[in-house]
C-alpha cells in the first residue's frame, strides 16, 4: 500500500462519524473538567487535613483519610467504576445513574491522588517558615496564605498536572458502564463500520489535542518559577 492509500484508509470516516467523535470529545472534555474540578477541591481539603500536625497526633482522622487515599490509589480505576455503578446500588439501594457514577468515581480517584500531592507539598515547606510568619504576629491562615501556599504550590503543580493528564485519559474507562463519551463513540463506530482503526486513531488525536497544551503550559510556568529564584 502506498502512503496515500494508507492516509485515505485512515480517514475513511464519514462526516457524520467525525461529528459524533467530536461531540464525544466535548463530553470527555466536560467530564474531565468536572472530575478535575470536584476531585481537586476535595483532594486539596483531604491533603490539607492530613498535613496538620494535630491530625497525625490524634490519628483517628489520619486513619479515616488513609482508608480513602489508600483504597483509591491501591485498586484499579476500572474496578472502582464497576463498584460505584453496580455494587453501590445493590448494597445501599441508592440508584446511581451512569452520569453520577462516572463523574463521582473519577472525582474520587482524582481526589485521592491530589490529596497526597497537596499533603507532601505542604509538608515540604520547612517548619521554620511557619515560625517566621507566626513570630511577626501572623495568624495560621495568614501564614498559610502568604508564606506557605505560594511556596507549596510550586511543589504541588508538576505532580498535579500529571494527575490531571492521567484522569483525562482515564475518563475512557467510564465508557465500560455505558457513559457516552469519546471512547464509547469510537468503539461503536468501529463496531458499526467494521473498521476499528480509523475511529480509534481519530479519538487518540482528540485526547492528544486536549492533553498536549496542558502539558506545555505546565512546562512554561515551571520554567518561569525557576527563573524567579
Amino acid at each position: 500500500m502506498e502512503f496515500a492509500d494508507i492516509t485515505r484508509w485512515l480517514f475513511r470516516l464519514t462526516p457524520y462519524d467525525i461529528l459524533l467523535l467530536l461531540k464525544g470529545g466535548l463530553v470527555t472534555l466536560a467530564l474531565s473538567a468536572g472530575a478535575i474540578g470536584l476531585g481537586s477541591v476535595f483532594g486539596a481539603v483531604v491533603g490539607w487535613i492530613r498535613s496538620l500536625r494535630i491530625v497525625k497526633r490524634v490519628r483517628l482522622l489520619w486513619w479515616l483519610t488513609s482508608i480513602y487515599v489508600d483504597t483509591v490509589r491501591g485498586t484499579p480505576l476500572l474496578l472502582q467504576v464497576y463498584f460505584v455503578y453496580y455494587a453501590i446500588p445493590t448494597l445501599t439501594g441508592i440508584d446511581t445513574s451512569v452520569f453520577t457514577a462516572g463523574i463521582a468515581t473519577l472525582a474520587l480517584f482524582q481526589g485521592g491522588y491530589v490529596s497526597e500531592a497537596v499533603r507532601s507539598g505542604l509538608e515540604a515547606i520547612d517548619r521554620t517558615q511557619w515560625w517566621a510568619g507566626h513570630s511577626m504576629g501572623m495568624s495560621y491562615l495568614q501564614t498559610l496564605r502568604y508564606i506557605i501556599l505560594p511556596q507549596a504550590i510550586r511543589i504541588i503543580i508538576p505532580p498535579f498536572i500529571g494527575i490531571c493528564l492521567g484522569i483525562i485519559k482515564d475518563t475512557s474507562l467510564v465508557s465500560t458502564i455505558g457513559f457516552i463519551e469519546l471512547s464509547f463513540r469510537a468503539k461503536s463506530i468501529g463496531a458499526r463500520t467494521l473498521e476499528t482503526l480509523p475511529p480509534w486513531l481519530f479519538a487518540a488525536g482528540v485526547y492528544f489535542v486536549i492533553c498536549f497544551p496542558i502539558s506545555k503550559w505546565s512546562q512554561r510556568i515551571e520554567a518561569r518559577w525557576r527563573s524567579k529564584g
Binding site: A132, H134, S135, G137, M138, S139, I147, Q151, K228, G229
Partner: protein
C-alpha cells in the same frame, strides 16, 4: 518591655530542656546568652514568644503571660517581639522589599506608601537599599541575614531576639552582620537577647551575660564578671574552649 521566666520547664518528649528556670530581664537590657550546644539557649528564646510551648511555669512579657493568653493577645505580643533566626528563614518567593513589608501589610494593615517608607528606612540602616528588588536567592548569606534583621526591625519591636545569627555564615560575612547589629542595638532603647558564640562581640554590646548548661543558668552577671573573672568552673572551662582559637 521586661521579660520574666517563672519556674519554666520545657520538654521535648523525654528530653528535659529547661529546668525550673527563673529569670527576669529589665526593659532595655542587652542580654547575651552563652553555653555549649544543646544547653537550651535557643529553646529559651523561642519560649518567649511561644513558638515553643512550655510544660509548666509562666513567662511574662510586659504585663502579659504568653503562656496563658488568647491567640489574639499572643499575636499582639508577637508583633512587639522581633526575632532573627540562625538560618535567616526569609521567604524565598518574595523580593527583599516584599519580605520586609509583608507583616506591615498583613498584620499592621499599613498603607503601601507608609510600608514603603518604613522598609526603605530599615533597609538603608542595614545597607541594602540597592538590593530592594532582588530575590533572596540572589543575595549572599550575610546580605540575607541583614534582610532578616531589617524584617524584624521594620515592625519597630520592643524586644529583639537574635538566635545565633552568625552561625550559618562564613567568618568574613560574620563581621558585616555583627557591625550592623552592634550599631542598631546601641542606638535603640529596646530589650535585646542574643544567643551567640562570638565572645568578643558580646563584650562590646552586653549589659549582662548569662551562661547556661543543660537547661540551667550556671552563672550570670556583668560582662567583666562572667567573661573575664568567672566564679564557676564550668564557665571557665567553656570560655577556655571557645576562646582557644583566638589566642
Amino acid at each position: 518591655m521586661r521579660i520574666e521566666f517563672k519556674k519554666v520547664n520545657k520538654h521535648y518528649g523525654d528530653l528535659h530542656v529547661l529546668w525550673d528556670l527563673d529569670l527576669s530581664i529589665e526593659s532595655g537590657e542587652k542580654i547575651v546568652l552563652i553555653g555549649p550546644s544543646g544547653c537550651g539557649k535557643s529553646t529559651l528564646l523561642f519560649c518567649i514568644n511561644a513558638l515553643e510551648p512550655i510544660q509548666s511555669g509562666d513567662i511574662i512579657v510586659g504585663e502579659t503571660s504568653t503562656v496563658h493568653c488568647s491567640r489574639k493577645t499572643l499575636r499582639k505580643i508577637r508583633q512587639k517581639i522581633g526575632i532573627v533566626f540562625q538560618q535567616f528563614n526569609l521567604f524565598p518567593h518574595y523580593t527583599v522589599r516584599e519580605n520586609v513589608e509583608l507583616a506591615l501589610k498583613v498584620v499592621l494593615h499599613l498603607d503601601p506608601e507608609e510600608s514603603h517608607r518604613r522598609s526603605r528606612k530599615v533597609l538603608g540602616e542595614v545597607g541594602l537599599l540597592d538590593k530592594i528588588d532582588k530575590y533572596v536567592s540572589q543575595l549572599s548569606g550575610g546580605q540575607q541575614q541583614r534582610v532578616a534583621i531589617a524584617r524584624a526591625l521594620v515592625m519597630e519591636p520592643q524586644i529583639l531576639l537574635l538566635d545565633e545569627i552568625t552561625s550559618a555564615l562564613d567568618p568574613e560575612l560574620t563581621g558585616e552582620v555583627l557591625d550592623v547589629v552592634e550599631k542598631l542595638v546601641k542606638e535603640r532603647e529596646i530589650t535585646v537577647i542574643m544567643v551567640t558564640h562570638e565572645i568578643i562581640f558580646s563584650r562590646k554590646v552586653a549589659d549582662r551575660v548569662i551562661f547556661m548548661v543543660d537547661g540551667v543558668i550556671v552563672e550570670q552577671g556583668p560582662v567583666e564578671q562572667v567573661l573575664l573573672n568567672p566564679c564557676e568552673n564550668r564557665t571557665k572551662q567553656f570560655l577556655c574552649k571557645v576562646t582557644q582559637h583566638l589566642t
